[in-house]
Structures are given as structure tokens and as C-alpha cells.
Amino acid sequence: MTDATANQNPAHGALTTTDARTRRRNAAEARFRLYGQIAIAIGIAALILLLTSVLSNGLSSFRQTFLFLEVTLDEKTLDKSGVRDVEVMKKVTTIGYGKLIEKSLQSAIEEHGITVEGLTDKDVSDMISKEAAALVRNKVLANPDLVGQTVPVKVLANGRIDGYLKGRVTMESAERDSNVSPNQLLLADAMRAEGLLVKSFNWGFITGADASELRPEAAGLGIAIIGSAYMMIVVLFLALPIGVAASIYLEEFAPKNRFTDLIEVNIANLAAVPSIVFGILGLAIFINVAGLPQSAPIVGGLVLTLMTLPTIIISTRAALKAVPPSIRDAALGVGASKMQSIMHHVLPLAMPGILTGTIIGLAQALGETAPLLLIGMVAFVRDFPAAPPEGFFDPAAALPVQVYNWTQRADPAFVERASGAIIVLLIFLLAMNAIAIFLRRKFERRW
């Protein structure tokens, strides 16, 4: 007691000076933090790179170049009989309409006093998208009374002209391009100055059907969005009940023996099976054995259900396990049956986890491409599927497959389209994740 220093452990120095060992430990901690920060920085940089590349390539696909024309719907060409019978009028093909549109464009150019040296008639007619005639024809067939009138129409410009306005096509590249001539670009400049050629929001990209190689300007995502939506409906209505029922049984009721262990191991393994294997399975079973149609959302949905089930089962079981056993005891203690304790107490508490797992599984399924290629969803589909339930059996595309499809095409206009489709896909995924977070917050309860 008299000599305080005598009690001091010689291994410990004064508090105010750090010894070598402490310095080493502090340095190790600082290094570890730095590693973490570097890892996060790399991740963020990769994300920014990805988003900028997708957005810079794809955002332009939401705007499209249109021609504003006054088309005289000549009765002699469109309806010789003059009785406005739609069945008879259908005999006039798009070629007839195309000529009318060309004529109206010619006269618009003359009217506005635009002159470009060496401009041929073909140059002028090629300014218009091949899709334009079909558009006007559909409009007239829907409303035969328009025949004989002069109506204002907004038609798509050719993909190359659109590319010129977006900077993809230049004078230099046009000289080497057999599909577009520099004269057309000059004409486009002049028409733009006169307000005949305008860029505006492209609803057709979101609602329209896919288009052929020759008319990238008309290609849309409509069928792919519907197909993906139908598949998600199939997956949700099959995978959620089957997955939740299987998890509840395995977690709460099943005896623990070799057989259930085997099932458990297999479910974990299934989650890791490459998705293309599920595609082969779907092709073999749903199409070849069960005889379901190819390219149909029902088959895609079934295949994606098989793929999503392990994810849902694993996350649901984790959510059930996370419910404290005291709640089960409490329910059993007042005489609830096992079923009642699960339905009244365990399941509501596990709900946020189950929903989050389900939506993450769905998001995974939404972005899945490989299995869909094998069951024919890669086909070129021009007709919109019908409303459900019949629509589930009609051919359709899917968003990720559409991206894959468009990247395969030669015309550079499809690169922009593919990036645009990726943006749409990302928006859907973000929306689903936002729903997952919202549901989690809403159902989360403390205990």
C-alpha cells in the first residue's frame, strides 16, 4: 500500500504513450478498414460504369424521329367500289398506302420549298419507315370514313434518319452506307428546320411489337413486357403457395430423419443448378411429354417456377426459423393446436421474410434468359398474346430474351434498342425490390 509503483505490472507502460503492440493492432485495424472501403469503391465504380453505359446507349431509344405529314387518302386507290366495305378495302396492301404517303411527302417538300441537289424520288420515299404504310392502313381500316379526306398523320422516319438525328449516322458513314445517302441527310436537316421532322417520345417502343431486321425504328417491347408479366403471374401463383406449403411442412411438421435430410440437401442443391438445365427439363417434360405449346408464357412460367422454388423454400424456412420459439410455446401453452400456432402466430411473424424471399426469387426469374431460349421464347413474335387465361398459351417473348435477340441483329439501331430494353428491365427489377422493401416495413413487427 505504501509504494504504489510496486504494484504496477512492468508489462504495462504509461497510459499516455502507445506501445508497439497497440500501434500494430491499430495499424491492422486501419488496413482492414481501408480494404473494406476499397472494395466498396470498386463496387460503386462498377455500378456507375454499368449504369452510364446502359443509360447513354439506351435512353435515346425512348425518343424517336417522326414525320408529320398531311396524307390525302385517295378513294381511287383505297376503295374503288366506294361502298367503304372493310373486307373489300383489305385487298389494298401496304404498297398502295405507301405510295400515298410518298406522294404526300413529296408535296410537303415542294410546299415548303425545300430543294436538295441530286435528290431522287427513291431518296425521298426511303425517308419514311416501312412501318408507316401499315400504320396508316390500320388507321383507315379502323375508320373507313377517313377515305377521301386529307388527314394529318405522324409516321416513323427511317431508322437511318433517326440515327442521324441521334448522332449515330454521320455524313461520312452515309457515303459508305448503301441504306442511306448524304442527300437524304441534307433533306432531313431541311425538313427538321421546317418542322416536318421531329423527335418525340416513343410510346411504340414500350407498347409495340418487335419488328424485323429492316425496320429497327418500329421495334417495340410490348409483347416482351406482356410475356414477362404473364410468366411472373404464373410463377407467383405456383411458386408462392407450393414453396410456402413445402417450407412449413419441412420446418414444422416433418420428422427429422434421413429422408427429410435428403430432401433438404436436394433443395439446397437445386438452388445451385444452372438455369439452362431447367430449360432442358422444361423442353423435355412440358413441351415434349405434356404437349404444351412452344414459346408460351405458361411453359416459361412453369420452368421459372421450378427455378424459383428452391429460393423461396430456403428463404421461407429461414424466416420461419427466425420466429422465436417462445411464441410457439406461448400458443401451444394456451392450448392452440400446432396448425393454429403456425397460422395465427408463426406465419404472420415470418411474413416479411417470406415476401422478401418471394420477390427476390421473382426478380431473379424475371431476369432469367437461358431456360427461355430452350423452350422457344426466342422466336420472333409479331402478334400480341390474348388476355389471360388463354393468353398464357399464346406465343410471346420475354424481356431478357428480347435483349438477347436485339443484340444479335446487325443494324446498329438495335444496339440502342437493346440498351433501352435493359433500362425497362432494370426499372421493373427496381420496382419489385421497392415493393419488397415496402412489404417488409409494413409487415415487420417487433416481439
Binding site: D329, A330, G333, G335, W447
Partner: protein, 265 residues
């Protein structure tokens, strides 16, 4: 140990409510309860004491077949409630648990309103015919659990928002709402502060007028304060069972004496 009121307590000769004969419990290969014979009297508080892991909670959980939920657990022997074997094949544990209520070590109210917590038992057993009747049961149960005055203005508030002691009394209210005949309490005060403990102990004494109460406790003082009969468990054996006063003042087994004087446990 001198200030205890146990000598003043009269132990009436009540009817036997539960009688256990030759009870053996196995957890897999572990022999957790070895040949226990006990008679639990009606309208009496019986305390199970003993060191940790001695099997007192295990034995308690045999009495309402809560051990059924543990896969590896096996119960042998004979436990009779009012003369009926509760391990008979025809007995549904759900019906048994409505008769034998249970309060757990950790307060475990459902994450629902106070009202729904208490009303849950009567609802699933169909004990009430109308909302008014249910309201009455809820009020009566909360009054019996000495909680009514504190929560009557916020019955729709979540049960998990109450303090620890209130939560435990809510759990007691939930257990008595199904009008059980026996109330099992597994260390009901171990998570509570001394004031809440005193409230719960007072409550246990009141509950005795209606039920047979069995309480597992680590605190010998608590056993001495609340119980009329005490059973001492050690390493799965029932060492001594008798009137509380006698166990604490004049134990017949040397192990009991060692435990209550603090030499083992």
C-alpha cells in the same frame, strides 16, 4: 430463513389433482427424469426446486405434454389428472393444455394487442358466445392477474409494449383466461425485478384459491414464500417431497439440506 411465514401457513388436506407414478423421461440417450412419484394437491401451490439441469422444468413440461413438441423426448410412466391418464392415446394434448395452463420463464406475449393476447385462448377453444361475454372474460382474467387497473384504458395497445413485469402478468392473464384447473409456472419471476416479483408472488397466492399451481423456481426464498408443498429435484431424481415448512426447517435427506443451506447447486 428465520423471518419466513411458512410455519404459519396452514396446509389443508386437499384432494389430489395430479398424481404421477414412475415417471421416466429420456432425451435421446440421456435419462433426464428418473422414476419420479408425485401427488399434486388441488388449490395448493407446489414448488419444484433444485439446481440447474436437475429436471424440474422437464418434469413440469410433462404435466401438460409440452415435451411432445421435442422430437427426441420420450416419457414413460403414469401421470393422471383427476384419475385420467394424460398420456393415454385418446387424449388430445390440445384439450389437455386448455385444462393445464402454462406460464413461461421469459414473458412471451403475442405481438398483438393486450386484448387479443388474453382473448386468444377463449377464442380458439370457443369458450364464449358473444363479444360481450369475451370482454367479460378478458376483464376478469386481467383483474385476476392484477393488471386490469394498469391496462384498462389501453387494451388495444400492443402487449409487447408493456414492462417486463406487466408482460408476465399479461401471460398469467392469458393462461387463466381459458379457465384452467392447473397452472404450471416455469420460473415465472426469473426475468423480473424484485417489485414485479413481489406482485407476481402475491398473485400466485391468490390464484391458489382456484387452481392447483405448480411453480418451478431457482429461488429457495421464493419457494418458501409462495408454496405449501415443495419438491426437491437433484440429477433427475425426486429427492424429497413434502410440506414446505418441513423441507426448509427439517429436511430428511442430506442432499436437501446441502442444497437449502447453499452447499450444492
Amino acid at each position: 430463513m428465520n423471518d419466513m411465514r411458512l410455519t404459519e401457513k396452514s396446509v389443508e388436506a386437499n384432494d389430489t389433482k395430479i398424481s404421477a407414478r414412475g415417471v421416466q423421461v429420456y432425451y435421446g440417450d440421456t435419462h433426464a427424469i428418473k422414476d419420479v412419484d408425485v401427488d399434486i394437491a388441488d388449490q395448493t401451490v407446489t414448488a419444484f426446486i433444485g439446481p440447474s439441469g436437475c429436471g424440474k422444468s422437464t418434469f413440469l413440461r410433462c404435466l401438460n405434454r409440452m415435451n411432445d413438441t421435442i422430437d427426441v423426448c420420450r416419457v414413460e410412466g403414469n401421470i393422471k389428472l383427476d384419475g385420467d391418464d394424460i398420456y393415454d392415446k385418446r387424449v388430445d394434448p390440445v384439450q389437455l393444455r386448455a385444462k393445464v395452463g402454462m406460464v413461461f420463464q421469459k414473458p412471451n406475449p403475442f405481438p398483438k394487442s393486450i386484448y387479443d393476447n388474453v382473448a386468444y385462448g377463449p377464442r380458439i377453444h370457443g369458450l364464449t358466445r358473444s363479444k360481450a361475454e369475451l370482454d367479460e372474460v378478458v376483464e376478469k382474467s386481467l383483474r385476476r392477474a392484477a393488471l386490469w387497473n394498469e391496462v384498462k384504458d389501453r387494451l388495444q395497445a400492443p402487449g409487447t409494449g408493456l414492462s417486463g413485469g406487466q408482460q408476465q402478468r399479461l401471460c398469467i392473464a392469458r393462461a387463466v383466461a381459458t379457465s384452467p384447473e392447473v397452472l404450471l409456472m416455469d420460473e415465472p419471476c426469473s426475468a423480473l425485478d424484485p417489485i414485479a416479483t413481489a406482485q407476481v408472488e402475491e398473485l400466485i397466492d391468490e390464484l391458489r384459491s382456484r387452481f392447483a399451481v405448480i411453480i418451478v423456481t431457482h429461488s429457495m426464498q421464493q419457494a418458501a414464500r409462495v408454496s405449501q408443498r415443495t419438491a426437491f429435484f437433484h440429477l433427475g431424481n425426486l429427492v424429497e417431497f413434502g410440506e414446505t415448512g418441513q423441507i426448509f426447517t427439517n429436511p430428511s435427506d442430506p442432499r436437501t439440506e446441502s442444497y437449502i443451506t447453499g452447499r450444492i447447486g
